[in-house]
């Protein structure tokens, strides 16, 4: 169930309140294929002569690779290729300070295939291509690796200790005034400050401080990584892959293998979930290298076990949050320290976590310090609003306790300190066109917020923020000879964006939605686009689609003017037809089909492509309220009711905006209640499967109600803001705050699994 709350007048350029398609709920164009099994995913392609590729992975969390002997494996009948790190160019071996950017190419290449060191259990060391799965498995067992096992470290604070085993002897902590001389696992320290922290705390009537910790979790996409790759003897490559960006795959394969980007054509398969975990490569460079050596196409599909051990979960963390406030709830100071686990190479999302931690609050004095720490665990990858859910868990739990101490309603405490248009954000710039206050009000006035609670039940509120991005995008719109249209983009559809693209084009062109067909094209068939992620597709690619459609409308008006024999400023485009505004001339309207039929005579094929770098993405705010019931004897938490309000700008297709909100909440609930990476003392993951890595099942969740607050982003033609990532930010704290209400105790360690809750209750 969902509500849409609108402001009276939209500031979006094309939203005049009379939209016919944008804002409605047509059936998604990919729906039939997906529910009937026709849709082609990464593992579905078969090519003649195709081989099966498999990866040999380190059993040790930290070891020097002394030697790899592949002779016995090569001799096995059916084995057509074997590769190790030596088969890849060595990217510059430089002393490096950890960068903010997650795509340090040298690290990425070493993660795809190790050279000197195995840095986590699961790290790829070698790969084979063989005529069958069974032969490939046997070949792996014949590869002889000599390891020098090294001491390992998994936990964040242990990795930061002076005596911790060091992963990279050329990694020196970045972000310090003076560069250190001793190598460290602390890749970087970052800091955001404002005002005078000590003075701020001195002014406070109430101070609250606590420590929090969260476990590593996985994005949990249902489709494992999969690809088919083929390199011909002339070096031309084809890759079919499940990913969040075919251009990203092309770029990374080109860099890791040192070949031209134009030699690689990447076709995006349908994707069974990504959530950020598929914004990088694991298999594609391996499959190409195996194909090069064997002369045949190679298919590689990760098992679920490999997905857990060797793709990119998100960080475990340790945090402290200290808040100071006046008796009336005005925040005077905040001190936040974040320690994030990066995995085997630098690049945890601690930077974004720092920038979002206090983004919903107008606080005059604060300090946020973040540490990016390498550990012998898989290299973390993006997970939906990377970093933000973690820091929000700490800050929102602390705010909840502060509200209790002050005797204040939790929404009132947020409102008292809320950011508005014109407030300087904690991460720097000034907010404009945000809908945070409206989103808070949407929850405050929602019937859920005032519904009564029973015994062992509690209610929790939490807020969350994400920037959303724009970026380089290309879209093409082509009109067929019968006046129907194709919308072509280069962005895999992970959230229903393809439907929204068609809807925006249909709105501008004035065509019914059934006459507009969206497709996602390969890297050779459409211009460059940044990957699908960062909640950018509907905003940025939608902008390109709209502009392409508008350009076509201008062209159609020109053609109509020619055919009508009037001047072009006397032609209007109204609901799919060219209309002469001078009625005295008695000109009949010309439909798109009419004009398409005459395209040859009026200038040639009708189509346009727009490439742009979309700026002005609007940030999003979410306010969530959650009711739980706790069984005090077993510690089980039941989510009774959940309502999520979010500032969405404009819901192009409301069902898919709801879907994004509900999906983010579901992942956040799993993160809060039961999901965690469990490692044994040997640094090996114990629960690398969905049996014991516990994502919520359908019966674990009630229907999640959504409220879509529409405060338009004037930089998007229809007012859209990104929506996909905000919804995962509040749930960790919303659930924890609700549990606190139900059991009267504060849980500071995620996940809130039943044994932990029962232990907390027993501790009294």
């Amino acid at each position: 169930m969902s509500d849409v709350l609108e402001r009276p007048a939209s500031s979006a350029p094309l939203d005049d309140g009379r939209l016919k398609i944008v804002g409605t709920r047509p059936i998604r164009p990919d729906g039939v294929d997906k529910v009937t099994g026709r849709a082609l995913y990464g593992a579905d392609l078969a090519m003649p002569g195709m081989l099966v590729g498999k990866v040999l992975r380190s059993p040790h969390p930290h070891a020097r690779i002394v030697s790899i002997d592949t002779r016995k494996a090569r001799a096995l009948p059916g084995v057509k290729a074997i590769i190790t790190g030596a088969d890849f160019p060595e990217l510059a071996d430089e002393e490096y300070e950890a960068g903010e950017s997650a795509s340090n190419l040298r690290d990425l290449a070493l993660n795809v295939m190790a050279r000197d060191k195995a840095l986590y259990n699961g790290h790829a060391l070698a790969a084979v291509a063989a005529t069958s799965s069974a032969v490939a498995d046997e070949a792996l067992s014949l590869i002889e690796v000599v390891y020098e096992v090294l001491p390992h470290v998994v936990a964040v604070e242990a990795a930061m200790a002076d005596d911790a085993p060091v992963l990279h002897d050329k990694l020196f902590t970045g972000g310090l005034k003076e560069k250190p001389t001793k190598a460290s696992n602390i890749a970087k320290r970052n800091e955001i400050k404002r005002g005078d922290l000590a003075a701020g705390f001195a002014e406070a009537d109430v101070i609250f401080e606590s420590r929090y910790d969260t476990a590593a979790t996985h994005q949990g996409y249902i489709e494992p990584h999969a690809c088919v790759a083929s390199m011909a003897s002339d070096g031309q490559c084809q890759v079919w892959s499940s990913s969040q960006g075919q251009f990203m795959i092309r770029t990374y394969c080109a860099k890791v293998l040192d070949i031209d980007a134009s030699s690689i054509r990447v076709t995006p398969a349908e994707i069974g979930g990504g959530f950020g975990g598929k914004t990088t490569v694991y298999l594609e460079p391996l499959a190409l290298a195996l194909s090069r050596q064997s002369g045949a196409p190679v298919k590689m599909v990760m098992t679920r076990d490999e997905v857990f051990r060797a793709s990119g979960p998100t960080s475990a963390s340790v945090m402290t949050v200290r808040l100071g406030a006046k008796a009336d709830g005005t925040l005077t100071a905040a001190d936040v320290e974040l320690k994030f686990q990066a995995g085997a190479f630098p690049g945890s999302p601690v930077g974004a976590a720092s920038m979002t931690a206090l983004a919903c609050y107008d606080i005059p004095n604060f300090s946020i310090v973040g540490y990016d720490v390498v550990t012998n665990t898989p290299k973390v990858a993006a997970y939906r609003a990377p970093g933000a859910p973690i820091s929000a868990f700490g800050v929102e739990s602390a705010m909840d306790d502060l509200a209790l101490t002050l005797g204040m309603d939790p929404i009132a405490l947020r409102e008292k300190n809320a950011v508005h248009d014109g407030t300087k954000a904690s991460y720097g710039p000034t907010f404009r066109n945000i809908g945070y206050a409206e989103t808070l009000e949407a929850i405050r006035s929602h019937p859920h917020y005032s519904a009564p609670l029973g015994p062992n039940q509690g209610r929790g509120v939490a807020v969350g923020f994400w920037f959303n991005v724009g970026g380089e995008s290309t879209a093409a719109v082509n009109i067929a000879e019968d006046g129907t249209a194709m919308v072509i983009t280069g962005n895999p559809d992970i959230g229903g964006s393809r439907a929204s693209m068609a809807m925006m084009a249909a709105e501008v062109l004035g065509l019914p939605i059934e006459k507009v067909r969206p497709i996602v094209a390969d890297t050779a068939s459409i211009g460059f686009s940044m990957l699908t992620g960062g909640s950018r597709t509907t905003f940025a690619v939608g902008m390109a689609v709209t502009q392409a459609a508008q350009k076509i409308v201008e062209d159609l008006k020109r053609r109509a003017a020619l055919l009508m024999d009037v001047s072009v400023d006397q032609v209007d485009w109204i609901y799919g037809a060219a209309v002469c505004t001078d009625v005295s001339k008695g000109k009949a309207d010309l439909s798109l089909a009419d004009l398409a039929a005459k395209s040859g005579q009026t200038g040639g094929p009708i189509g346009s492509q727009i490439s742009l770098n979309a700026q002005g993405a609007g940030p999003g705010f979410g306010v969530h309220v959650c009711d739980v019931e706790v069984d005090p004897e077993t510690g089980h938490v039941t989510i009774l009711r959940y309502t999520a309000a979010q500032d969405v700008g404009k819901a192009i297709h409301p069902s898919y905006v709801e879907g994004q909100i509900q999906g983010g909440v579901a992942q956040g609930v799993g993160w809060a209640l039961n999901e965690e990476y469990v490692f044994d003392t040997g640094g090996v993951m114990e629960n690398a499967g969905f049996l014991d890595y516990r994502v919520p099942v359908a019966s674990d969740l009630p229907m999640i109600d959504t409220v879509m607050v529409e405060v338009a982003n004037p930089r998007h033609p229809f007012g859209a803001k990104g929506v996909g990532e905000v919804p995962i930010v509040p749930p960790l704290a919303a659930v924890a705050n609700a549990v606190r209400g139900a059991i009267g105790k504060r849980m500071t360690s995620l996940p809130l699994s039943p044994p932990k809750i029962r232990a907390a209750i027993d501790a009294g």
Binding site: T634, H636, D692, R694, V697, S699, D700, P754, P755
Partner: protein, 290 residues
Amino acid sequence: MAQLDFIAPVSPEQAAAALLAGGAGARPLSGGTDLLVQLRSGRLPPGLIVDLKRIPEAIGIRQEAGGFVIGAATPGIALGEHAALTAAWPGVIEAANLIGSTQVQGRATMAGNLCNASPAADSVPALVAARATCLIVGPAGRRTAPVESIAVAPGRTSLAPGEFVLEIHLPARSARSADAYLRSIPRTEMDIAVVGVGVNLTLDADGVITDARVALGAVGPTVIVADAAAEALIGSKLDDAALARLDTAARAAATPISDKRGTADYRTKIAGVLARRAATIAYARAEKTA
């Protein structure tokens, strides 16, 4: 490379002979919901698979001598659909129907669940509480054994080479008797039991418990028959004092480990909680029966 072989015998004796001849790598197959998973994951090397489903006695439920005989290859969904069986043994059926998921229930069997010998098997505590027995067929002939004698350690059974379970027998039911099974899992479905408790009760005309059996699962290497816990109930009407004694005795009988599914301390406490709750359900059911 190891070979995978498959045979579908049509008689129990033929199956026993095939299992004996197949050696250490031979396995009986009913629903395959454990076997196939283990083969795929590499935990079990490929060997001879002996499919039991062509053997007539292996599938079906019949009433005999006041009790029930259930063929080893009878899937869970058939158990739940059998009205008389469900009325007489609601605890056994609800336990069996918890295995896996709806799809798994179309294949999974109690005999398979039992012989897989996982300490956390869901059907076993209820079968043990019910005093169920197995009909075992082997090269030396047929024999009967109580269900609790089958699993001897995690993943190991007392079955000799060539032996397999052909039938599970539930005894005749006394009047005013009922059973119940509860398990504790972190989510609401799909998990392996962290603790499982089966309770079977018989009441007299006044509601006094005259017979009780309590079995604990997932808190030891094999199912634990908690005699002291059962004794704590006999002679009572399941008042609060009896429930408290039951809780204490169940906790004392539990010998769990700490692993990724739960701590020993938590499992011990939950054994007590579930024993109380299962006994309460069984008692209410027993009061309602004739």
